[in-house]
Symmetry: C2
Amino acid sequence: MTGAEAVLRTAAAAGVEVCFANPGTTEMALVIALDHVPSIRAVLGLFEGVCSGAADGYARMARRPALTLLHLGPGFANAIANLHNARRAHSPVVNLVGDQATWHRDADAPLTSDIASLARPVSRWVRETRAASQIAQDAADAIAAALEPPGGVATLVLPSDCQEGEVAGPAKPTALRAARPVPTERVEAAAAALRGRSNGAIHLGGAALTERGQRAAARVRAATGCRLFSECFPARFERGGDLPDVARLPYFPERVASFLEGLDIIVLAGAPEPVAFFGYRGMPSRLSPPGSRVLTLAAAEDDVEGALEALADAVGALAAPTASPTSRAEPPRASGALTPDSVASVLASLQPDGAIVVDESATTGLGYFPAAARAPRHSFLTLTGGSIGMGPACATGAAIACRDRVVINFQGDGGAMYTPQALWTQAREQLRVVTLICSNRAYRILQIESARAGVPAPGPQAASLTELSRPPLDWVHLARGMGVPATRAGSLESLEDALRRAIAEQGPHVVEAVLSDAGR
Amino acid sequence: MTGAEAVLRTAAAAGVEVCFANPGTTEMALVIALDHVPSIRAVLGLFEGVCSGAADGYARMARRPALTLLHLGPGFANAIANLHNARRAHSPVVNLVGDQATWHRDADAPLTSDIASLARPVSRWVRETRAASQIAQDAADAIAAALEPPGGVATLVLPSDCQEGEVAGPAKPTALRAARPVPTERVEAAAAALRGRSNGAIHLGGAALTERGQRAAARVRAATGCRLFSECFPARFERGGDLPDVARLPYFPERVASFLEGLDIIVLAGAPEPVAFFGYRGMPSRLSPPGSRVLTLAAAEDDVEGALEALADAVGALAAPTASPTSRAEPPRASGALTPDSVASVLASLQPDGAIVVDESATTGLGYFPAAARAPRHSFLTLTGGSIGMGPACATGAAIACRDRVVINFQGDGGAMYTPQALWTQAREQLRVVTLICSNRAYRILQIESARAGVPAPGPQAASLTELSRPPLDWVHLARGMGVPATRAGSLESLEDALRRAIAEQGPHVVEAVLSDAGR
């Protein structure tokens, strides 16, 4: 078989089932090999950022690795922004990047560039295959690197001649190390710190936000009175239904300061110490209250769920706090124009049981998180790396991982313009993705930041860089241009009707919610 | 003034007039400073690849540097694909990339990454400013680096605190070195090689493809009988009108082999030795005929035009060959379905005098180059680095550089989907860009490459990765969604009518030509 086929057979044996691809000439052998390994499904994206974002979304939901197939340095570069999010989400993603034939690199043909230099900032593991004879083992190593707890991005550069060469066969999957058990001393230290103290909290991230992790954390809360809060941008946060109510770290550092005020112990479970998203003058990088103690129960690569359960036992928690059945909020039946809060609460009131909500709603969606606490059980996926353009792509991959669930991409219009091509893949694959575009026709966060920087009324150039209203984007046209039916809503009633219909559809749908402050 | 303002004032003093921007929070000081330096025009792109491609197109036409303004690593990453083309085009582009405050980097906040590692593969010069006091000089150095002959990409990483800090003022522009004169011995060697020999050729690239360069080359041809051909993907090729007829190196290596057959001398003027675009089994990297001599008259960084004029004098050429007035080809008045050749010849017959033709038409446009030789005088810009998604963005920047000329983006549908957001900037800026989308609804080049690789009938997965017909993209909807009027044409008559009307408009227009073989 060819080296390309050996790569794919190695991946299939390791449990890989999907390859998000935007190939070119140097990946032709891999494209051809996909027909020999039908257990790996090829999904075409028309832009590489769709492929990498979809791989991230798939990995977050399927909890197994996804492949991307990308075309040399420039093709890989287009995938980087969403790989940055995948890296912060600890998503197991394996990039297969074609390259010039080994013997052709020195010719410096137009598409030649240093792919490894591009790959390192978003990859925990980078390798360039040197010979066809090594290609299968390189693939096995790449997959193992992506799966090494807590998961991450591995990039394997595959020269075209190595893909084309004849090889003996696939490599065996590498034996994987499980997440590292947490030493008893760390559990005891956390238990001692939280026991009998009213000003403690557990900062939950990564695997702490699974159902198992949260239920264990809730036991600790019930026994010690500590607070529970999640990181600001969790990769996947199971919420709603009878799950415990867990708060979320705010975004702006001044809000974090008041949120954390009075805490003297912060126990980290799968999350890093809270830091500011950006460095603002006069505000610190690290946001734990001055004088507080921060201690790590479990790092991201540890057995976070096991550590929380051990902590619950150590503090003498009961088996499980009784779950209070949630009463669903009724949709706000008020009529009228759309505001950020009313859009968020309509969504929270209508999302179906088992929804996957991919949130890149930015400023519009601030009210969604509290509103959705009482929604039916759902998975909540956020912008882990802050690299916008994640939503449409991540939703696409999540829908491929979970064909029986409805995916709702709660999406700002500015961010959507970085990866609009994802809609085409949703149409082609007939995915149940409802994209709720929040059209405020502005980079609203930049307008807020400008005011925060002391410039409440920017001049014409600064204003022009934050306004998306000249001309207004028309998401109904854009969606239809990519084969996705679409509806525009300018009032609460029409938004509710449109969302209900879109959720009931079997394929994708775009609902453009034009906010009352659009363009301001 | 702030460091940010000092950067912009330094750039303005060095002749910079435009900044293609997609900023974020870490660039807020630069955004605010743009209102204090109104001689630099801020142009918003909704995706960073639009900014970098526009900067490339602007630099190719204006022959002066363009700024981009980008948001940390992920924002820069989205710009890389078109920076790769700019790098191969030797376009002077200066990237200003905001970064976390110097004191905040160690916190490893979500958007933090190694920007320099991302920048190096596409930049001839990379620097991270360390302190506000150095920021102005860093900006002057960046601009000088971009302008150093033959021009290139410079990337300056600007931590937010350095932008915000108070500084004394701008830096003086760095004195620039002119293109290096070519030593007399090289001119004499080339003259000796070409004189009295029938099997010689000059390979023209870069500055050799200006009017001055080509007229000098034509004098050499008239005196020696040598052939003239351009590199396959020139950055800017002046053509049409009474300019000399210069051939173009083919794309596929087997065609290059027959094209170059029989040559025993190839003189390089601003172009590298011809190499294959990709390494194909059984074909060489370097495409000069076996046994031929390749000698460099002028490298890209040399005074290429001066060298060609010196060569013309050395071979005893007359002042200038008499120009034969061109007779304009009539449009092919045949009716019927659209084929690649008929689309190309309609465009060549209708393009107005002084057009700028940005060609990313890929397989559809193969017939355009010969057809346009008899068109009125025009500038022809191509995909220098092979990184697709260049056309819509490059056309946007070219139109901003030359507001009095019509820009025609001759564009494949597959490539257009990498940077469709450029249409929005064209609408906002009311640019005279006619985008002629060649809708064959396929990655046709990959279908050709698959057949070349010995797989004439690919299986279902390989086929699905090259077909863009399920669903078909609707470019009329897509364009209108971004505020650009659009027309669909399915026959030669309707294409001709639509193109004539689009060319006459004062703002942008999209014409979608649906080819008769679309979706096959």
